[in-house]
């Protein structure tokens, strides 16, 4: 009989501990109903939730997304493919899946939105993705800046788009693809000094050899050019 209070205390303590955690915890993640399973990915998503390893599995999905985007498509011209063009019909669902697992993966959202809007010319899909990302990170200014840049890109004003993206470039989490894009847009608009500064940054900080090689090549080309008059760059 004297042991019963011990059992009661044990039950009470466990229930209090569980109830406290249940009451306090507010999930920052999308509910399971929002996770659309990618091909062959349902088991991995289960594992991500069961092990509490959403970030790691989002990383894996992001690596897969980059591999998917990095693999040239058949029947697409080499030049188009080298510049990031092509169909890549699964790009949006794959990008969204990364954010469904970890909506806080800002770099993945920016990389995906940038690729969709500026390389694949699908700004609507980029806006849709950023809208989803903003749902779980409503205070993320980088998403809002990106949305603005996409808006300007529709008006075909490279200098304005480059200026809109500029604040994101200073962020250590900025995808190198966006830096490359900003440099390209500046070059297109005639802002060679700004383009060179961005290419220098890519050459110094990126871990992607392809981007580094391209940045060094562009720096050499830009070094041989004369800076145009400022009015010319902003005339568009």
């Amino acid at each position: 009989m004297s042991r019963l209070p011990l059992l009661a205390a044990a039950l009470l303590s466990c229930t209090a501990g569980a109830a406290l955690s249940a009451r306090w915890y507010v999930s920052p993640f999308p509910p399971p109903s929002e996770i659309r399973s990618a091909p062959g990915g349902a088991a991995e998503d289960m594992l991500a939730l069961a092990l509490g390893a959403r970030r790691l599995f989002a990383d894996i999905w992001f690596i897969r997304l980059m591999q998917y985007y990095g693999t040239p498509e058949q029947l697409v011209e080499e030049e188009v493919s080298e510049n990031g063009g092509g169909l890549y019909l699964e790009f949006l669902p794959k990008s969204r899946h990364v954010l469904e697992i970890d909506p806080g993966f800002t770099a993945a959202a920016l990389y995906s939105a940038g690729s969709l809007a500026f390389n694949l010319n699908r700004p609507k899909e980029a806006e849709e993705l950023l809208g989803y990302a903003l749902k779980y990170s409503p205070k993320e200014w980088k998403y809002l800046t990106m949305l603005a840049a996409i808006g300007y890109s529709k008006a075909e004003k490279p200098a304005v788009v480059a200026a809109a993206i500029a604040p994101i470039l200073k962020d250590p989490d900025c995808p190198v693809m966006l830096k490359q894009l900003a440099a390209f847009l500046n070059k297109k608009a005639g802002n060679y000094a700004a383009a060179a500064a961005i290419y220098s940054d890519i050459a110094a900080t990126s871990r992607d050899e392809a981007y580094v090689k391209n940045a060094k090549r562009e720096l050499q080309i830009l070094a041989g050019r004369e800076a145009p008059a400022p009015a010319k760059g902003t005339a568009r």
Partner: protein
């Protein structure tokens, strides 16, 4: 007569030194080192996200390694002492059962702390070698992992007192680990369900500890800070399962 608390501390230290001397400790440490090194390969694949991937993979591997060792240790420590009759020798001396059980739990938790600390240092060294600093919220991530390990260790110790083998203890504890991480999803399902199904799911929500509250490594930056409720919740669950284990131990004849 020796005071009771130092007796418990002596059991804890003995249990800790036994764990550290155990060859499995070395195996797991070597495994963790090799696994963290393997994560460098994954980091290379992530290109500009290498730092994030290295940090995430290292933290997950560390937690799983400590979890595996803690479960193995907690599920076998009491069984082993009963099989080798060591427990009879201990209880023939003036060692209270609560001090013995507390000591065993304390020893297991000390081992987990040591493992997390050693592997954490190795991980940070690896990150430094790859040119990265300490990831934001790193200490919180380790603290959260420890809270989860503490809860599951005390639960495994409790289960080992009524289960028939170490394997069944491991399985039951594994189920709690999974259910604990699914607590938020269970809550969502409970809100969508009705009738008996909703009642069962709601009961699960209020009984199973929500491991996501401790899961600081899945939260980014400042959001990784553990709230006081996380420490209180883990402490309550550790205490609850300790008391339940004590209840079972007090019913056994030694």
């Amino acid at each position: 007569m020796r005071p009771v608390l130092p007796v418990g501390a002596a059991v804890a230290l003995n249990s800790f030194s036994e764990s550290v001397r155990n060859r499995f400790f070395t195996i797991f440490a070597v495994f963790a080192l090799a696994a963290i090194y393997a994560s460098v390969l994954a980091g290379v694949m992530a290109v500009d996200q290498e730092g994030r991937v290295l940090a995430d993979m290292g933290l997950v591997l560390m937690e799983l390694t400590v979890l595996a060792y803690a479960l193995f240790n907690a599920s076998s420590v009491l069984l082993r002492e009963a099989e080798t009759k060591t427990i009879y020798l201990v209880f023939s001396r003036p060692v209270p059962r609560w001090a013995y059980l507390g000591g065993k739990l304390g020893g297991s938790l000390l081992t987990s702390v040591l493992m997390l600390a050693v592997m954490g240092l190795m991980h940070l060294l690896l990150l430094k070698l790859r040119g990265f600093g300490v990831p934001p919220g790193y200490a919180w991530a380790l603290a959260g992992s420890f809270l989860k390990i503490a809860v599951i260790t005390s639960f495994a110790l409790f289960v080992s007192l009524f289960s028939t083998s170490s394997v069944s203890t491991l399985v039951i504890s594994g189920v709690l680990w999974t259910a604990g991480h699914f607590a938020a999803e269970t809550r969502f399902l409970a809100s969508q369900a009705a009738g008996a199904k909703a009642a069962v799911l709601n009961a699960a929500v209020w009984l199973i500890p929500n491991f996501q509250l401790f899961n600081a490594r899945d939260a980014a930056g400042a959001a990784a800070a553990l709230p006081p409720a996380a420490f209180l919740s883990a402490a309550a669950w550790v205490l609850g399962t300790y008391l339940a284990a004590l209840w079972l131990l007090s019913r056994k004849e030694f």
